[in-house]
Point group: C2
Chain length 671, copies 2
Amino acid sequence: MNPEFLLPAPIRIDQPFDGRRRVIIDRISPEIDGGRFPAKCIEGEAVTVEADIFTDGADTIEAELLFRRRGDKEWSSVPMAALVNDLWTGSFRVGAPGIYEYTVQAWVDHFLTWQKGLKKKIDAGQDIGIDLKIGATIVELGAARARGEDAGTLHHHVGLLTVGDRESAVEAALGEELAAAMLRCPDKSIASMYEKVLLLQVDQRKAGFSTWYEFFPRSWGGEPGRHGTFRECMAKLPRIAQMGFDVVYLPPIHPIGLTKRKGRNNSLVAMPDDPGSCWAIGGPDGGHTSVHPELGSMADFEAFVQEAESRGISVALDIAFQCSPDHPWVLEHPQWFRWRPDGTVQFAENPPKRYEDILPIDFETKDWQNLWSELRGVFLFWVGKGVKIFRVDNPHTKAFPFWEWAIGTIRQMHPDTVFLAEAFTRPKLMARLAKAGYNQSYTYFTWRNSKQELQQYLSELTGTELVDFMRPNFWPNTPDILHEELQTGSRAKFIIRQVLAATLSSNYGMYGPAYELCEHVPVAPGKEEYIDSEKYEIKRWDLDRPGNIRAEITAVNRIRRENPALQQTRNITFVRIDAGANREHDQLMAYVKRSADGGNVILTVVNLDHRNTQGGWLRFPLELFGLPHTQAFTVEELLTGQSFHWNGEWNFVELNPNVMPAHIFRVILPS
Amino acid sequence: MNPEFLLPAPIRIDQPFDGRRRVIIDRISPEIDGGRFPAKCIEGEAVTVEADIFTDGADTIEAELLFRRRGDKEWSSVPMAALVNDLWTGSFRVGAPGIYEYTVQAWVDHFLTWQKGLKKKIDAGQDIGIDLKIGATIVELGAARARGEDAGTLHHHVGLLTVGDRESAVEAALGEELAAAMLRCPDKSIASMYEKVLLLQVDQRKAGFSTWYEFFPRSWGGEPGRHGTFRECMAKLPRIAQMGFDVVYLPPIHPIGLTKRKGRNNSLVAMPDDPGSCWAIGGPDGGHTSVHPELGSMADFEAFVQEAESRGISVALDIAFQCSPDHPWVLEHPQWFRWRPDGTVQFAENPPKRYEDILPIDFETKDWQNLWSELRGVFLFWVGKGVKIFRVDNPHTKAFPFWEWAIGTIRQMHPDTVFLAEAFTRPKLMARLAKAGYNQSYTYFTWRNSKQELQQYLSELTGTELVDFMRPNFWPNTPDILHEELQTGSRAKFIIRQVLAATLSSNYGMYGPAYELCEHVPVAPGKEEYIDSEKYEIKRWDLDRPGNIRAEITAVNRIRRENPALQQTRNITFVRIDAGANREHDQLMAYVKRSADGGNVILTVVNLDHRNTQGGWLRFPLELFGLPHTQAFTVEELLTGQSFHWNGEWNFVELNPNVMPAHIFRVILPS
């Protein structure tokens, strides 16, 4: 077995067993599945680690959090502090993307134990003659460990404890100088270490805060009906950047198959000029590492990527591991597909549905090692062209171990790559993809519309263990999903769903042109597919069409960029809004987010009712900020620029959806 | 390092890595701290294991639970069944005490996947010509794996699928015979195994269901003031057995030190005839492996143990790892104690409190290996004398790693030993002792008195992960704890607390003589110590004194013995009792327990108010038994023998504490 194909196992600490290691370090958090998977964070972030730490008896203990970049030999350390009920906490700041390791070390501190007992005996008026001598022995041992000036200080204190009068001995024993010097030379010779080293995956900034714009390059040609090119798309980048997006996501850009090509509106028969679905990948012009000729050359693509980067925009590619029957792999690697008894290749099906323009890859092929290498090679190829972000199509229909291996090894080489899992499937599969390495995940946001649904879903994403490894990316629409709520075509509803996505989740995106223009007609009643879907045809968008919500999108994106509180997801607290006395409002929803440094506080209020003006009493949770219920403070409405003075926690808010269905307030609190 | 002194590490499955193993087995329950500690169960029990199991795509999977006794090479297996949301379950029955191992294996079943697709295609009226041929190939591979008659059956079906007419082919494809034969030869060649082997500690029956009676043998002499003997105690065993106790627990039976011996009521000065605290262990007559001469000889003790066993009673010894200054270890192993600068040995202290009659053992001694061996030897010595149950005194003041090693290795030799942790300390320390191997744990029950406190505490013990490794043992009193609630001396209150202990927890015990007699005077107001505590003097109990609750204790113990529902703790469900419309009664508490086989259902109702009659409407949860709210059924009051017919879920109950403050009903439901 090629060792390259092994998956990681939890790392055990290799500490010699010594029965005198009396401190117990019992449950570290975060720790995903017993250390089998890394927790995730963002470069530059402070990471908080908690653990249950205690020892037998009444001895005083000390603990420290150890951390290092994988590959480093030496640990860095920060002291941990006791919170309550034997729970300890510590935090450290991570650097550039990559894998970090962390664990906890703790020990009995005989000096502090002695000092604590001494104080109690003095308070009780007991004789402390022997205790001072015991202390002198402890300090003497400290002096032997101490470095620099501390050694002298400690030797001096040995004298004070033993030869001085009682008063000066007590003063020395309980004084700051002795404690500080002893703190610098703890006796860790029989310290306990947590039994495992835990892993932390540090991701680049856009894994945690990103604003995605999806579009089909083929629709961005100069004249109606003509296939667009990368060169033409480059001209659109300034507009996208101006709107505040920092990721442009392109559906597959590869050659498209001809066999069983789908026509407009998913018809089984394509007209000669139908471009086909770009997810039917591969043809005579190549497969997953080629560019569809009508989009331009590879050089054009690279120029597009560079132009985007120069504007602060990353290009995200859609990687869909499936093939049209014309894909080169079908001839070159027939063993990667299933073949039927009649000699034909097995197309994708989910009986009774058939997808004859697409072949699934057989992950049970005996040739799986070559298959895995080739698939991983697709990502590495595009990384070589400057792409760092990948949106992976239906990862839950490919073998999970492949993802863990592929993403893990790619990120060893390129720690700043980001993988978004496009899996709209059962909860445990979505969680597993995140654990296996995906940096971002599509979510059920699209189908969570009521206040209760949204609050419950956010609690699940931010209040369970998911928060440590699964990063949501909220999409109000995609080319596949035009939710029923949007099918009314209500402009207010489009704004509502965009504000929600953009302020609930730090990562969000939209299928841009259709969303800007409030496109809302489904292919048939009860369906979530768009009519005349761009998936099967070249469209031409008039992006300046009246009724568009470009200005609103732009404003919200600007507010996100300017306010660090909106650049995280886990920092959310829902806020009470009442319709009447003690009756929660069911259409007005509000939530507050606070930046990690506490300096930026954003309160978002959304009217979920796109038809009617709604008003209610909002209780701002002043207690979260250590302020009294009656505190006066200022809120600045960031969409309008207006400021309001609020007196105390309860304030009336009202939102007319036909003006603007949301408030985004910056809350300015006295410090 | 002597490998004997290592602690266990989770066992990883040693399965060759194969990328084609597509099924994910994600989180097994029970799994304690990532497999670091065993879950616990009782011999003969059926153990239920759950896991998240799924694969990519839409393939059908199968899973099985693997289990074996540690040391066996071959796994036994039982099929698992899917519950909901990718959660699977399976269960197996364990045998005699010892360590079991378990894990999960799962695989894609291509036959079932094919059959499911075929059905859908037939329903949709699609052509299935090729599908039948694909199925024939799958069945042919099955025939090659099959044994005995199945091979023939499967070959025959290959023919039916390929050469018969469509109708008979379909009939064969979807028929029972084919499915049954294929089920017996699954293709597990690329099955996935869970990455770890998990451990299960199987305990003897009394670890799960036991009724403890604690008494000081020295008080059971024939004449007032004379030290009792084991021989005299033997005569009391029939009475204890008749009351329904099956464990007698003796405080330390070892020689008692003279130096700094405590007098009556914990006085610092002992009178010449004061017997001293039996927890000040060791003197010229020996230490932890000797018997206090006044109790009799070692042979007398062994006779006592045998006599008890013959009556179904186990003798539990109190093992307290601390020494009087006269203990032989102080001279033989001075390195196991702390010595002070003045050459004296360090006595126990928790400043400003001092316990000069007791020396703590220094678990940081460099000689810890010999210390550990000697301490473990104490248990092994008494096991050699017929003792299997140990109540360990203050285990949380001795090094935790010692317990894990000592209990783990003792139970390898003697799997039927039971250790009860006498730790009344912080929650995480108590949990750790249980994880480290203790079979039973003292609890906070004594300090949980209100309905809300009791319900919340039981939820914590039975509704969190504690349920898998920590077994509560409820004590309404101990020689150290006379709770304020009992200090009123109310006979009803003593009965209430005994019924609660005996019916909430399958393991319970009492400091017998004092409890039978409703002893209730504390040493001082606000203290929980008994006045004239038996810890420091020889008492003489008149157990037939009027006002005793012997009959009530006996009745409740009989009911426990006769009703398997009361022989478990985790099977509790609290039941609603209303004082008025929609107002929960705050003094009446009720709960239902159901035996593992479902055949025995016990409903306990307790009036927590020991002064006043209380009545209320009880809602029996018929829905738990799949019965309609209007079901009529019979309940038999087991304390009185009366039967009642209840019509539907809501029934009125009333309890006069001066008659009997509790009902214990056997619920007879239609099956």
